[in-house]
């Protein structure tokens, strides 16, 4: 579980610290400590696991003493010590001093001063462990290789059409209407638009005429099943088209059928 700290155990050198327990490190190895551990929690966990302490019954005095030794050493040789290590030193010192205080009054919510530290150590260990397991999972690049297959030589890529939402279209319409004063006194009504639509329809019908027979009979442009309203709309559309000089009406004989055709 703690294989990453093995190199430390190999280091033998002058004994720098007074009290034994375990693991004494020459100053030049201290730099390695900083690189090897992911911060003070990781380092504390190492000390605890290394000496088989019960994390739930943390011998705070012993741990604090060891921890301080390293911190002092690192300070001595002017290693740039991450602030977190100093914060942890302060926490340990505080816990130690609180434990030394005689318990006079027992309040109902009195805590063991170690509890918070133990909780943090446990929580960190869970994720330190999870990270190690994640590292073991088979993963792309290292363990899994994907199959690459080319497209056939004559494959041709196409560009997709953009999608438009009706609301976008409506807001564009509304914007342009607002901008244009001339349009503002047009009343937007169903009738007006159906007339416009019908104008297009009529023009399309007329476009389909052949050059020998360029005209369509007036009556054929009306559809009886549309009722009166349909007739009116078609008629209005024709008037509008005539006004805009887009179509023309001709009558070859008096009282004969009116013929409608494209102008020009």
């Amino acid at each position: 579980m703690v294989q990453q700290v093995l190199p430390l155990a190999l280091i033998r050198g002058e004994v720098v610290v007074k009290k034994p327990q375990d693991l004494f490190i020459p100053p030049d190895a201290l730099e390695i400590i900083l690189d090897t551990f992911e911060g003070p929690l990781d380092f504390l966990l190492y000390l605890i696991r290394k000496q088989k302490f019960d994390i739930m019954d943390l011998p705070i005095a012993a741990i604090t003493e060891q921890y301080m030794v390293y911190v002092e050493l690192m300070k001595d040789i002017k290693l740039e010590l991450a602030a977190e290590y100093l914060v942890m030193a302060a926490i340990l010192a505080e816990i130690k001093s609180r434990l030394l205080l005689p318990k006079l009054v027992v309040e109902s919510d009195e805590d063991d001063p170690r509890a918070e530290l133990v909780r943090r150590l446990q929580e960190y260990e869970v994720f330190k462990n999870a990270a190690e397991e994640l590292d073991q999972l088979p993963r792309l690049e290292r363990d899994t290789q994907l199959a690459n297959v080319a497209l056939a030589d004559d494959f041709k890529q196409a560009t997709a059409m953009a999608d438009v939402d009706l609301s976008e279209l409506l807001s564009a319409l509304s914007d342009v209407m607002k901008r244009n004063a001339a349009l503002e006194h047009h009343h937007i009504q169903k009738e007006v638009l159906s007339t416009r639509e019908r104008m297009t329809f009529i023009l399309q019908q007329l476009k389909q005429t052949s050059s020998e027979q360029p005209f369509v009979e007036f009556s054929k442009l009306f559809s009886v099943d549309e009722g009166r309203q349909g007739v009116v709309v078609t008629f209005l559309a024709m008037l509008e088209l005539i006004k805009e000089s887009l179509i023309e009406c001709v009558q070859t004989q008096i009282y004969g059928q009116i013929q409608v055709g494209l102008k020009g």
């Binding site: 290789q145 196409a158 953009a162 564009a172 169903k190 638009l193 020009g264």
Partner: protein
Amino acid sequence: MSELENTSKKMLTDAELKSLLEAAIFVAEKPLSIARMKEILLADYRLSTKRLSAILNQLKEDYNDRGIELVEVASGYRFQAQAVHNEQLIPLFKEKAPRFSRALLETLSLIAYKQPITRGEIEEIRGVAVSSYIIKTLQERGWVKVIGHKEVPGRPSLYGTNKEFLDYFSLTSLSQLPELMVVTELTNELELSNKLELSNESGLSIEPGPSKESKLVKIPETSVSE
């Protein structure tokens, strides 16, 4: 690697070799040449080029009736999709199209609403020139077409919308367009008033809502400051 050369090389059965070659050609980033197979992939194994070719031929046959095939190109062997699937695979590789511009949408809405209409008339209403690209895009999309020519000097094209336009927006008739516009405007106003009520009632400034609403909803300062 070098220490292996003097030791006796390992052996592979035909099945193992085929499986390995298959995997190797698939995962290699470039076509895999026979030379690379022998020198890099199979450096530890004893085998002849002849055997290698035979196995590659077997592999080729294995993929005869499948969706992909093993082909030999200039730099080696690779798998590629069967050409019969070209058409069907196009949708997978469509480049995502850019969103339509405001200019295009305005042009489209004017053609829909005021058809038949000339480009000049569109420009007059919008107050700016309409690029040919926009007209072309709308025609390619099948939404707009020339339905005639206006009998004025230059005989400009008259544009109108197609049935495809109505289909795309699930409209049954163009007359729905302005109606919808009115409804949308109403909805926007409603949303605005709802929001106002909310902020009045709470009286307090809570955390700001999702920012996407901000463009729709302008809350007067008075209601926020309390």
